[in-house]
């Protein structure tokens, strides 16, 4: 037995085989904690009778395994205890992950401050700590020929549609790939990636958000070694308002929610509208404003459209450099960029001041959105809008707008219409995302996601 394993792992010098009283303990040193091996196996073996081997191993996660699974368990941080023909796997995994920290990519002032980390067990634990019911199911899959990454579908079987679970499981089973490095691999592999620039799966590192969505009837996919849980299905509106809105009073948050939608469209349309108005439809600008525009544009030699493309391009560069460059170098880069773009470009008459305003508004409104794919899809459509506005004016903006809407309505997230809850309209989901009802009145789940509609009974207060 030991020889076979030794043969299989001959290139892994960290394979250790320890023999005590005819019992072989086999493990991969790099994955295991020697303290645990000592406590769970070695101590027991040294002081008890080998005949009752099962009782000698005190490790909490111990299972009898078959010979063919040995390699798999070894690679997952188990120690194999072999005596005669019997094989036991004992979990002695070393702590290779960081501890639970605060969410960096989705910060919120209120609400829980814990975030997922790279350990799938910890992540599952963070969810299970919040949902204490046997209805919480997690189905495990091993994906990746080389990495054998653990992927887990988490859902509530009394709320989530079974069809959806089967569909996702099917797609996960179909994956044939060398390795899964991050949960985003999974999200790209189980959707038609090229069908749309819009994200059709949410990513979150907040366990509270995942739990909130699970309770609404969505399902989540956890991937080992990734701090981001996937939530699906996801609709257009899910990416605009963060779920942390639920921690504020409904009456207050609605204006903010509307503001975010306005910001989305400003970020999408501002440069295009500016170019269309200033080059084609000057009659729509009030006379006084037009005169001020004329004065500002007087000294700028490049056409407004080119100016817009140039500025957007420069700002994208600036933004990218800010993300890529290590923060330890300080913020000198962004200050330099802002200075060059803002002050110097205007005084050198390369761009007009109004263009700076338009581009700043575009980018500031864009900062509201944290999801990477949302930002990227806005950018893509912004260029489309701007391009058509450059060639056709307001008419072009309308063409692009029509395309945008038609596209939005034509895509699906796991068989559910992406434009839900606007088209088809559903008031229950509408008042969870676009606007918010009072918590007491928000008693129903949405029909699109589940048949189990009643969420809570309305309170008598």
């Amino acid at each position: 037995m030991e020889k076979e394993i030794q043969e299989k792992f001959k290139n892994s010098p960290d394979l250790k085989i320890k023999k005590i009283k005819k019992v072989a303990v086999i493990y991969l040193e790099s994955l295991c904690s020697s303290d645990k091996i000592n406590d769970y196996i070695l101590k027991g073996l040294s002081f008890t009778n080998i005949k009752s081997l099962e009782s000698a191993i005190v490790g909490p996660n111990t299972t009898a395994i078959k010979e063919k699974d040995v390699a798999l368990y070894l690679e997952n941080g188990f120690a194999i205890v072999s005596y005669k023909k019997k094989l036991y796997a004992v979990e002695v995994k070393g702590e290779l992950t960081r501890s639970v920290s605060t969410p960096d990519s989705q910060p919120a002032i209120y609400g829980p401050k814990d975030a997922f980390n790279e350990n799938i067990q910890t992540n599952l634990g963070l969810i299970k700590r919040r949902i204490k019911t046997p209805h919480l199911i997690n189905k495990d899959f091993l994906v990746g020929k080389q990495t054998k990454t653990k992927v887990s579908i988490v859902y509530l079987d009394n709320i989530c549609e079974e069809e959806m679970v089967n569909k996702v499981a099917d797609r996960l089973n179909q994956i044939d790939i060398d390795g899964i490095i991050d949960s985003s691999y999974i999200s790209q592999l189980i959707t038609k990636e090229s069908a749309t620039p819009f994200p059709t799966i949410m990513e979150s590192e907040r366990p509270d958000k995942v739990v909130m969505e699970l309770l609404e009837g969505k399902l989540s996919i956890l991937v080992d070694n990734s701090p981001f849980a996937l939530i699906l299905p996801a609709f257009f509106v899910d990416f605009i308002n963060p779920t942390t809105d639920n921690y504020n009073k409904g009456i207050n948050i609605n204006i903010l929610k509307i503001t975010r939608f306005v910001c989305y469209f400003i970020s999408l349309l501002a440069p295009a509208l500016y170019v269309a108005l200033i080059n084609y439809n000057q009659e729509t600008i009030p006379l006084d404003l037009l005169l001020s525009f004329i004065v500002q544009r007087q000294s700028v030699p490049i056409p407004a459209a080119l100016e817009a493309f140039l500025m957007l391009f420069l700002c994208d560069i600036l933004r990218e450099s800010d993300i890529r460059f290590p923060s330890s170098y300080g913020s000198s880069i962004s200050i330099l960029g802002a200075l060059i773009l803002g002050e110097a470009a205007v005084s050198a008459s390369i761009v007009s001041p109004i263009m700076i305003i338009v581009v700043s508004i575009t980018f500031i409104t864009n900062l509201i959105f944290t999801d990477g794919d949302t930002i990227n899809s806005i950018r893509l459509f912004r260029y489309l809008f701007l391009g058509l506005a450059t060639i056709f004016g307001l008419y072009g903006v309308v063409i692009a707008g029509t395309f945008f809407l038609v596209h939005l309505c034509s895509i699906e997230s796991f068989g559910k219409p992406y434009s839900y809850p606007m088209a088809p309209f559903d008031s229950s989901y509408f008042f969870k995302t676009i606007l918010r009802k009072q918590k007491k009145k928000d008693t129903k789940r949405s029909r699109m996601l589940t048949d189990n509609l009643t969420k809570q009974r309305s309170s008598g207060l």
């Binding site: 200033i278 080059n279 084609y280 000057q282 009659e283 006379l287 037009l290 005169l291 001020s292 525009f293 004329i294 004065v295 500002q296 544009r297 007087q298 000294s299 056409p303 407004a304 060639i391 056709f392 004016g393």
Partner: protein, 354 residues
């Protein structure tokens, strides 16, 4: 795929960039003046140019003038004198001199303005009273184009508010082209280098026939607009202010009845009156009803003298009895005026302060 590509390319190459104008390349025209001298039309364009000197933005107006026997030629010769693209979408005002309106009539001008695609129809029109249109535009204002200044003046001259409200070009032409309706234009004059809105120029068809005074035009506004008015009526000592007015023109076969329902408040009164007394209000209502009725009658007589039907009585008649209608019926038919004045009792001092 080939067809699709061809379609896309042709869209971009054939129709792309239609109507593209750089802001630097346009000259915003705010006003047009039309004169008639020595058998020729003289067309003045007021161009608004904004320049920046340092941080300060300066506005400068430039006048360009061309003349020709034919109006459209005179108008378009101006384009050859302007280096940039003429941009008429922000045209505010067209000023027509008295000679043009009276002698040549507005027909040729309106015809041209309706036909040309460069000019919209949201500008105002006025008559230059006693001055030429060029002189009006030459009377330059400090920070503003003359046209902009005049339009604000016309809109805000409260007493004559009814003059400008439906004076935009589109409404003007629709009125002019409908049966039994005559148009009126505000007239502008210069008094000690300041602009002043003077009487109302009234038309019979395309030709201007004369001016009527402010007092007539104010009272006539009661029979042309139902809206919040602010009209002051007095008999020397007592005065009321009409805050709200509504009118209805009832047409019968041989008679037209103008019914005014007005609401007003007392502005000043003789010290003999006491507002604690209910009779005072009745007196005011009766007295001023009669007064307004009389004034409206004189105004209509004045209009009939000029044969101008700016109240559109003929149009109302045409709508009800199209077969019996003939031109000029609005100025011939019998009419009756009924005034129903209601004096409000809110917020008043009971006694006259002595």
């Amino acid at each position: 795929m080939k067809k699709f590509l061809l379609l896309i390319i042709s869209i971009f190459l054939l129709t792309g960039c239609y109507d593209y104008k750089e802001l630097k390349d346009i000259d915003v025209i705010t006003g047009v003046g039309i004169d008639y001298e020595d058998g020729e039309y003289v067309v003045t364009l007021e161009i608004l140019r904004a320049t920046a000197s340092g941080d300060k933005q300066e506005l400068k107006t430039v006048l360009v003038q061309s003349e020709d026997e034919v109006f459209s030629k005179a108008f378009e010769t101006n384009y050859t004198k302007i280096s940039k693209l003429t941009y008429f979408s922000h045209l505010q005002l067209i000023v027509v001199s008295e000679e043009v309106a009276q002698e040549k009539g507005m027909q040729e001008i309106i015809d041209f303005l309706l036909r040309t695609s460069k000019i919209g129809n949201t500008f105002y029109t006025a008559v230059a009273n006693g001055y030429s249109a060029y002189e009006i535009f030459d009377n330059k204002q400090k920070d503003e184009a003359v046209a902009t200044y005049l339009v604000t003046l016309l809109k805000n001259s409260n007493e004559n508010s009814f003059i400008t409200v439906d004076n935009q070009f589109d409404l003007l032409t629709s009125k002019l082209l409908s049966k039994g309706h005559d148009i009126y234009l505000p007239s502008i004059t210069i008094e000690e280098e300041d602009f002043k809105v003077s009487g109302l120029a009234i038309f019979d068809g395309f030709d201007m026939v004369g001016y009527i005074e402010d007092k007539y035009s104010t009272i006539l506004s009661l029979a042309t607009m139902s809206s919040m008015n602010n009209i002051y009526v007095n008999d020397g000592i007592n005065a009321i202010n009409i805050d709200k007015s509504d009118y209805k023109i009832e047409v019968e076969k041989d008679k037209i009845t103008i019914v005014l329902s007005l609401e007003g408040t007392i502005k000043s009164l003789d010290k003999e009156f006491s507002l604690k007394d209910e009779d005072t209000f009745t007196w005011f209502e009766d007295h001023f009803s009669e007064l307004i009725k009389k004034e409206l009658e004189t105004s209509i007589q004045e209009l009939r003298y000029y044969n101008s039907d700016i109240l559109g009585l003929g149009n109302k008649y045409y709508k009800k009895y199209p077969r019996k209608y003939h031109d000029g019926i609005g100025n011939e038919i019998d009419y009756e005026i009924k005034v129903d004045l209601d004096v409000n009792k809110f917020g008043i001092l009971f006694e006259v302060i002595q």
